[in-house]
Symmetry: C2
Subunit: 245 residues, 2 copies
């Protein structure tokens, strides 16, 4: 015997998916649904809350329960051939890639493990907010081993200055300073955002984040860079193309 909230949620979900309620339009107001199903207010709200957590609707005070737009599937990252920056990839739209923070840091256990150095080793830590359109779509944190970062700063740009103008992508800068990124491994997972991530990216409920952990190595297998990227799953996808055999 299903619960009332479950039945209400099922009927509304089916109506949404069948197109009876169009994206951008609103569901009937709570009082109407209470009347229709003969239930208390909280029961209807629980049903709608479930739909919100599935990413189907967004309730808005004073407006109504808005049916969410279908996910705007966008290509976002595709590392074949030369590395491209965020702005280059989403070039057609008004995209931005802002350095929020840059400076020297001590590697914690996770980062040290990825870079193959000991915990507490000096690393350059950069945090960027990558946006397209209005909101932040991805938070990019990057760590570079101290010696490699110092060589880049000596030969090219001061990456430890968050306001420094970086004329091209990091891998190009590395090559100028005699570091040769040769291979990159990305591991992609997903989870629900924490409150801070929801705040920064303006995520509605029911939207997970894609978490990408990357390690880039040179020809000797030495790690030259590692990144953690947290992206809003309603605004981006990751795409990879590779040869078989």
């Amino acid at each position: 015997m299903p619960t009332k909230r479950g039945q209400i949620a099922n009927e509304l979900r089916e109506a949404i998916l069948s197109g009876e309620y169009q994206p951008g339009s609103t569901l009937p107001p709570l009082p109407v649904l209470m009347e229709r199903y003969g239930t208390a207010r909280d029961t209807v709200r629980d049903a709608i809350s479930a739909l919100a957590n599935e990413g189907l609707v967004t309730p808005r005070r004073g407006i109504g329960t808005v049916v969410r737009e279908t996910m705007p599937v966008e290509l976002a990252y595709s590392p074949t051939a030369p590395a491209r920056t965020w702005a280059q990839q989403v070039s057609s739209q008004n995209a931005s890639d802002i350095v929020i923070n840059a400076g020297w840091d001590k590697a914690d256990a996770d980062i040290a493990g990825r870079l193959g150095v000991s915990s507490g080793t000096r690393v350059l830590h950069r945090t960027r907010h990558q946006s397209r359109g209005s909101g932040v779509a991805q938070i990019h944190e990057q760590w570079i081993p101290g010696p490699i970062a110092e060589a880049i700063i000596r030969d090219t740009v001061d990456l430890s200055d968050k306001d420094a103008v970086v004329p091209t992508d990091l891998f190009s800068l590395m090559r100028i300073s005699r570091t040769n990124p040769a291979e990159t491994t990305e591991t992609i997972g997903a989870r629900m955002p924490d409150p801070e991530e929801r705040e920064v990216m303006g995520l509605p409920s029911g939207v997970p984040v894609l978490v990408t952990k990357r390690v880039t190595r040179d020809n000797d297998g030495q790690a030259v860079e590692t990144s953690t990227m947290v992206g809003a799953a309603d605004r981006m996808t990751n795409s990879f193309t590779m040869a078989l055999r």
Copy 2:
């Protein structure tokens, strides 16, 4: 001014993340939390419900509110060099890859677009449940253009029979029947599961699914296969390694 439920959620979240409540243990029972915060039962439940939707806890009737185990980060898919089957990849554990359904179908608009054929074209449609340990970790749906599938069936195994024993991976079978998969593109996103997916994979609330859409092409750029894979994000990650430059 934060809400009561928000404050309660914040305090409990912090306590969990700081290790005050260990994974596998339970939070204080509702009556205790009601007393501690001086609130009604539903207010505490709303707070806990939020934590559940973040993937931090799983309330269990008769047991308590269990702190979830930290995500068992596992490598799951890494297409470099020869294609490997699910079972080969997760070989060390008790993994399985069961064909739930196989048969001829008409391509809908999405699939037709991916395969570069017209809507309604005859395609072979296979659905698999890929598991490791107890639960289903990934649902794999695959579509193969009619002529290619027929060639495979003629030369090797009857893929339209869901109980047929497939001795090796699909790409090897293709090569035997003069189809040459050369390049594959995977696009990865994430969303919350629908009720059916939650049912099949036994997903607790707060766990998103990784959605991978793949198109494999031959040397002429002709699509020879397309797949949609829906995987439980608390049980798997996708990993890619590729050369730079």
